[in-house]
């Protein structure tokens, strides 16, 4: 198997799994129980929270554990909307993850006005458009820091200044960014950050919302005093422990990891060019403006779904940027947003996402497999 779909998810490493195991079988108490089994579980959560806070440079009390990035984003946007009684507008972008877009659409149905910022061909938002739309009626601006499909890394500092001038909350979806680029929450100085552990070798089903100290949110889930009354329900102790361990390992290796993924990315594109394969790289060039390891490619006249299927048959796993409604498979909203002038997106896009286990031989396997598929189309 050549797993090149690390932006979809990553595998739990042995190191992370070993850290989690005792909390399934040995320390299985309820963290809310006041006896030794419960105390052990509670201590594990607090230790994990402290670790994560230290690694990301925030206060432990500013982190609320959730079931993942989607819940974190829902908690932020709906929680703000439900606790707000004065502001009626939300600003986001056309290239957000569905966690944000669908939540925004839900809030639109409840009466909020939602503005979807345009992006340029590389996926960068139009800062002037943001300046023109933001008002003192804007409740929150929600921006994806590292785009999951095309890897665009937004310039958050500029966005932050605009939000500050309008006294508007800023939420960033950092699900793809964590352990890929340096994240210092105090330095970023944003109000909310969504995080998901399974993107960096933690388990699926655990994440967090960073909420800047002092901000009140209406909880989405009621029924207990867990997470300082911000998210009810018995905590998922083993997964929280795994989350902290995965982050620790990921951040420790970040600089080397980023450099390696960029090298692999260049290698992949160079190999395609050497073989005379025509492609379009969607999103920014590999470098400081692009999420390391994210390679979104469109091959002219090649249906990305067919390419993906044929690669799958050869044990090479990549993604397409697609969404389905009840009757059609459509190219993603992200690809449509960066190329609004293209009417027919029939070729779609193939996302190759490299990760910590990727080796040159995986890329070579991808190249060897895709070249005949593309050349076959060229010959028709």
């Amino acid at each position: 198997m050549h797993y090149l779909d690390n932006a979809a998810t990553t595998y739990v490493t042995k190191e992370v799994f070993d850290a989690m195991k005792p909390y399934f079988t040995i320390y299985g108490g309820n963290p809310s129980s006041i006896h030794q089994a419960g105390i052990d579980a509670k201590k594990a959560i607090n230790t994990a929270r402290n670790t994560i806070a230290k690694l990301l440079n925030c206060y432990p009390s500013e982190l609320v554990f959730t079931s993942g990035g989607t819940e974190a984003t829902n908690m932020c946007l709906k929680g703000l909307a439900f606790s707000n009684h004065t502001k009626g507008e939300i600003i986001t972008t056309k290239i957000e993850h569905h966690a944000t877009l669908h939540t925004a659409q839900f809030l639109e149905d409840l009466g909020y006005s939602v503005y979807y910022l345009n992006v340029d061909e590389e996926g960068f938002i139009d800062l002037d458009e943001l300046r023109s739309l933001i008002t003192d009626n804007t409740l929150v601006v929600s921006i994806i820091l590292a785009n999951n499909e095309i890897g665009t890394l937004q310039h958050i500092e500029e966005i932050k200044k605009i939000c500050d001038n309008a006294r508007t909350y800023l939420h960033i979806d950092a699900v793809q960014a964590i352990t890929h680029i340096p994240i210092d929450i105090t330095e970023l100085d944003v109000d909310f950050i969504s995080i998901s552990a399974h993107k960096f070798h933690g388990p699926k089903g655990i994440g967090a919302l960073y909420i800047k100290d002092g901000i009140q949110l209406e909880p989405l889930i009621h029924g207990g005093a867990q997470e300082r009354e911000r998210r009810a329900g018995t905590e998922n102790v083993p997964y929280i422990v795994g989350f902290a361990k995965a982050l620790e390992v990921g951040i420790k290796d970040l600089a080397e990891y980023r450099k390696r993924l960029d090298e692999y990315g260049h290698y992949l594109l160079n190999r395609l060019a050497e073989k005379g394969i025509v492609y379009r790289l969607n999103g920014p060039e590999i470098g400081e403006d692009r999420l390391p390891g994210n390679i979104s490619l469109t091959f002219p006249n090649c249906d990305c779904h067919e390419l993906q299927y044929q690669l799958h048959r050869q044990g090479i796993y990549v993604s397409t940027s697609s969404a389905c409604d009840s009757n059609n498979i459509e190219v993603s909203h992200v690809i449509k947003a960066i190329y609004p002038e293209i009417d027919d997106h029939k070729d779609g896009a193939l996302r190759i996402s490299l990760g910590s286990n990727t080796k040159y031989e995986d890329i070579d396997a991808f190249i060897s497999a895709i070249i005949p598929l593309i050349k076959k189309v060229d010959q028709l």
Binding site: E306, C324, L380
Partner: protein, 96 residues
């Protein structure tokens, strides 16, 4: 990628085109979806995947056949997912 096939019945061409576009029985899609995904109500992306599974299976049979042509009842069970009547009377030929 885009393999073309010709399907004839009693000497008449009833389909010629991309193998991916041959009609597949709905119950065959559901059956395969349950087999692959454990899902009896697949979304369009999963349906599309299942169709590719069938058409690639057919393509493999065609490529293994010396003249790239599958004929009649001896192959019925290998092609009974195709949505044509009298499936045992059809002949499928790989064109490209």
């Amino acid at each position: 990628m885009a393999n073309k096939v010709r399907i004839t019945k009693n000497g008449h061409v009833i389909y010629e085109g991309n193998i991916l576009d041959i009609p597949i029985k709905e119950d065959a899609i559901i059956k395969k979806s349950i087999e692959v995904f454990g899902d009896e109500d697949p979304c369009i992306i999963h349906q599309s995947f299942v169709i590719k599974e069938y058409t690639n299976q057919l393509l493999d049979h065609l490529k293994e056949t010396p003249d790239h042509c599958l004929e009649k009842e001896k192959l019925k069970e290998k092609i009974d997912f195709i949505d044509f009547t009298d499936i045992d009377k059809i002949c499928i030929e790989l064109l490209e």
